[in-house]
């Protein structure tokens, strides 16, 4: 390759700023060559460096007695769940690849997040996903949904980890920029974890798994014709997944860890060999000498920067103890995987890459990485103008519908409420035989931990309409709802991972959303004592509408982990017995802000986030845990999207039983039934336990309302028959599939 003249223009083409280019020259003490500049460009990209977010991320609570590694220290968070077991979990976005190529984009998103878990030595036992699509009536959206769902399914199903939960929301703000956030949860025995570090000069460095190809190199940034013989257009920017290869890699790496031959290990995701070598070296305070000729490649004549930046999937970088190489090779041979020594650890602190015997890049590791020399920026922000429209909303101007049954049907058939059966039946949700919620649904997914009494409760939550209307409150609600789902399932919230999907950080209004969402999230996490163990930030999510680029709703997805000490604490949503009393914990409000009701029935796009008070929420959840322990609770289901009505019908459908309830005339009936004011839980109680429950709630200052009882086969509200539950069930079960398929 002929050496090209490196100028600030080259740097800009690679996505760096002029300032950053100056900084790089200063670090290097000279002008970098193209390969070196490429290394900086990917390591200092938003994706690897978190340069526009890390300042604020550091304000989140990241400490806790159960955390075994701190946020950002390893590939995923690691939490002590007792019984000598750790739980590694993390959520990550794959939005842009999925918007371009939904099948492979989503599939490799799943593959990438599982690798983050098993590179730590944990075996993934559950997967979740949080999806945002545009208007499902659009042909384009249908194509994206089908691609994403089959991509997630095909990858996870073959890999053999059940998809146990998740969420899917639809709004036109995601028409072109869908969000695909994938979460993995794994279990590891204490003392068997592996760190993403490189230690011991002289130790061999191996690349294992798939051969390295040209897939996933960000073709667009290399659009400079004289760089290579090949045209940049030939470089596919989206990676291709191979779940079978990942399954082999999983088994082989877990087996290899048992040999004791591994010093450190990191999977290759974004920026491939570059990222794994620099992060491991920086963490261990060492360097590496890598011979790129030894890297198994899929095609001939790959340029050094292509090998370095390739995001080919299903690969790992392993540093082994010198003299124990054979142990590693035996395991990878057993699983028919490539395992090539490509270099060794040095004490220089530098990454030295060789090709054809020539040193083609020589960069210090530390300045490349987050927490090292990578830039940190604080962007300016200003209150978004649209909030005026949000705050101008007056409930008094909204007329109550005369036909509440029709309104209920409109809400119930919102794609955001309808059963996601069409989606989740394409995922193997039961493999590994730990999915307790399969035959008895709870608000969170419940996953048995074999070899222990413990049950994990996991959930992903974020109502981005709320966050759009009020980023601070909306993010608090996202955390609170996740915790509420875990508490309603009988669990104790432990920690979170977050996936922060926002628009362009250089847009001050977007950055305002980001900053306020982080503040709200931090506040709620501190209240619930659920520290942030890690996650990821995805900026630049926007949809082009005619002549403007509209950012997507700010979507800080929360993935929360909870623990049940044993199955006896489990609580499910299903009404249990005819005659049980139905109570609502929490306070009803004259509030329809940001509800499905106000959006679907009244077509109002701008209204405030629902009423919410963090202390009240905490108080309700705390006492909910205690009344479950006391054995008062037969069923529990929180009030969320669609309001009280949807909550009641969902519990009724799970039981094939009806209910008879009354509303409170002090409130607007539409707000009472369909409002989404927070911190409310519908529970059922055996008649013989009612007195004890009421005494408890009164003596602990827990606000509650007796709504009615489980009875018959129909939904009866204030003597009005809303129809048989079986009819609601028919609507609920199949409608989303019909929308997507037709």
């Amino acid at each position: 390759m002929s050496e090209v003249q490196i100028t600030v223009e080259t740097a800009k083409n690679l996505g760096l700023t002029a300032d950053e280019f100056d900084q790089i020259k200063e670090i290097m003490g000279r002008t970098p060559n193209f390969t070196e500049l490429s290394i900086f460009s990917v390591m200092w990209s938003e994706h690897c460096s978190y340069k526009n977010s890390i300042h604020w991320l550091k304000t989140l609570p990241r400490e806790g007695s159960r955390l075994l590694v701190g946020a950002g220290e390893e590939n995923a968070g690691l939490v002590d769940i007792g019984d000598g077991l750790g739980c590694a979990f993390k959520i990550e976005s794959h939005n842009h690849p999925s918007a371009i190529e939904p099948y492979q984009g989503a599939a490799t998103g799943v593959g990438g997040i599982h690798r983050d878990i098993f590179t730590m030595g944990a075996r993934p036992i559950a997967a979740l996903n949080s999806l945002r699509f545009g208007n499902p009536d659009l042909k384009h959206t249908k194509r994206l949904i089908k691609g994403v769902v089959s991509g997630i399914g095909d990858y996870g199903n073959c890999f053999g980890v059940p998809t146990v939960g998740g969420e899917a929301y639809f709004d036109e703000c995601y028409n072109q920029n869908i969000l695909v956030n994938a979460m993995s949860v794994g279990i590891v025995k204490a003392g068997e974890t592996v760190s993403a570090t490189s230690e011991g000069p002289g130790n061999p460095v191996f690349i294992v798994g798939s051969a390295t190809g040209k897939d996933g190199i960000h073709g667009a940034t290399f659009a400079s014709a004289d760089l290579t013989e090949d045209s940049a257009e030939d470089l596919p920017a989206v990676q291709v997944g191979d779940p079978f290869q990942e399954k082999l890699l999983l088994e082989a790496t877990l087996e290899a860890i048992q040999t004791g031959a591994i010093v450190g290990m990191q999977d290759m995701g974004a920026a491939g060999i570059t990222c794994s070598t620099s992060e491991m070296s920086a963490k261990g305070g060492t360097g590496m000498r890598i011979d790129l000729d030894k890297v198994p490649t899929r095609q001939k004549n790959m340029q050094p920067f292509e090998i370095l930046l390739s995001e080919s999937q299903e690969r790992m970088l392993i540093v082994a103890h010198k003299g124990q190489e054979h142990l590693l090779l035996e395991v990878f041979d057993k699983w028919d995987l490539e395992c090539e020594q490509i270099g060794e650890v040095t004490d220089t602190g530098r990454l030295e890459f060789y090709k054809d015997g020539e040193l083609i890049a020589d960069v210090e590791a530390e300045p490349l990485v987050l927490g090292g020399g990578a830039p940190v920026y604080q962007r300016e922000y200003k209150k978004p103008a649209y909030l005026k429209k949000v705050n101008a909303f007056k409930i008094g101007k909204i007329k109550q519908p005369e036909d509440l049954v029709a309104a209920a049907k409109t809400i119930f058939t919102s794609p955001n409420i309808l059963s996601k059966r069409w989606i989740y039946e394409q995922y193997d949700s039961m493999v590994r035989t730990n999915s307790i919620h399969t035959n008895e649904a709870s608000d969170a997914a419940l996953v048995r931990v074999k070899g222990s009494e413990k049950v994990l409760a996991v959930t992903t939550d974020c109502n981005s309409s709320y966050v759009y209307a009020d980023p601070y409150k909306g993010a608090m609600i996202a955390v609170s709802e996740a915790a509420r789902n875990i508490v309603c399932s009988g669990g104790e919230p432990v920690a979170i991972t977050n996936c922060l999907n926002f628009g362009n950080p250089y847009n001050p209004e977007v950055y305002w959303q980001f900053v306020h969402a982080i503040k709200g999230m931090g506040e709620a996490c501190r209240k619930f004592n659920t520290p942030v163990t890690g996650g990821n930030v995805s900026f630049y999510n926007q949809t082009v509408l005619e002549n403007t680029a509209e950012p997507v709703f700010p979507t800080p997805t929360i993935g929360m982990l909870g623990v049940l000490d044993n199955i006896s604490q489990r609580t499910s949503i299903r009404f249990k017995n005819e005659g049980d009393a139905i109570y609502m914990l929490g306070t009803p409000q004259n509030d329809i802000g940001s509800s499905e009701y106000v959006k679907r029935v009244h077509k109002v796009r701008y209204s405030p986030a629902p009423s919410f008070d963090l202390d009240e929420e905490f108080h309700i959840q705390h006492n909910m845990k205690l009344i479950i322990k006391k054995g008062f609770v037969e069923s529990a289901h929180d009030v969320s999207e669609g309001g009280l009505f949807v909550s009641l019908v969902e519990s009724a459908m799970a039981a094939d039983l009806g209910f008879v309830v009354e509303t409170d005339y002090n409130f607007r009936k539409d707000a009472y039934l369909f409002g989404e004011s927070q911190s409310r839980i519908v529970i059922t109680v055996k008649p013989e336990n009612e007195d004890d429950l009421v005494n408890y709630l009164n003596s602990h200052n827990v606000s509650f309302t007796k709504l009615g009882e489980v009875k018959g086969q129909n939904a009866i509200i204030d003597d009005k028959d809303f129809g048989p539950i079986t009819e609601w069930c028919k609507l609920y079960d199949n409608k989303l599939g019909e929308i997507i398929e037709n």
């Binding site: 028919d336 039961m430 035989t433 999915s435």
Partner: protein, 236 residues
């Protein structure tokens, strides 16, 4: 009775099967690696299980490559000598590919992977895994596959019927064998069959996913219990 669970590199229900056989049913189980050929420890009255998963990735056609694996040579011989062989999901697909069972498993008629509870009805007690099943009752057992539509030519289907080789039909929760209850378009709602000698069983549904109280479903356990008690009679 001893169990061997074959582990292909892409098997992913092997651990589930081992768990149920050992922890729930209290049986002796060993894993058998796909590259090994020696299963001489297993004799008549023992059972080799081919578990669910994606044996070698199954990018070509489920089970198409697995039939050529070293272990399958021995499994075929073991079956031909009268040993019990039980294939579930991918195991069923492999048994059809090797010819130990007739028919093929085509892509589901909706062209999608389907994972959900289904109901099964057995028309016969005349095979070890169905020996003690109540023929009037539907069993709730889940499926999880993309290629589970059982298909065979008319003559083969007739032969299966005449020889009482159909072990399970998909049905509704009341035991009615209806078109709506057929999840994948299988011929006659067939969910599982055995060979003419009645020692090789194949089924798409996963009884190992329905054998524990904690999972809220123990309908699958009767298959394991049937097999164990039949074997006891044989050996006794």
């Amino acid at each position: 009775m001893k169990f061997g669970v074959v582990v292909f590199p892409g098997s992913n229900c092997d651990d589930d099967m081992v768990h149920v056989l050992s922890e729930v049913m209290g049986q002796e189980v060993v894993k058998l690696w796909h590259k090994d050929e020696d299963i001489s420890d297993f004799g008549k009255g023992d059972c080799i299980v081919l578990p669910g998963g994606f044996s070698y990735g199954d990018y070509l056609r489920a089970g198409a490559i697995a039939q050529f694996s070293p272990i399958m040579k021995s499994v075929v011989k073991f079956a031909n000598e009268g040993g019990f062989v039980w294939g579930i999901c991918n195991g069923f697909q492999i048994l059809c590919e090797t010819g130990l069972l007739p028919g093929v498993l085509l892509r589901n008629n909706n062209q999608k992977f389907i994972c959900k509870n289904t109901h099964l009805k057995s028309p016969t007690n005349n095979a070890a895994i169905v020996a003690h099943i109540n023929l009037d009752k539907a069993l709730k057992i889940p499926i999880a596959h993309a290629e589970g539509r059982f298909h065979a030519d008319e003559a083969t289907i007739k032969q299966l019927q005449d020889n009482d080789q159909i072990l399970f039909y998909y049905c509704d929760e009341n035991g009615e064998i209806t078109e709506e209850a057929n999840p994948n378009g299988s011929t006659l709602n067939i969910a599982g069959i055995c060979n003419a000698e009645r020692n090789v069983f194949g089924m798409m549904p996963h009884p190992e996913r329905a054998s524990e109280d904690i999972l809220g479903n123990t309908d699958g356990r009767i298959l394991f219990e049937s097999l164990l008690s039949t074997s006891k009679v044989m050996m006794g």
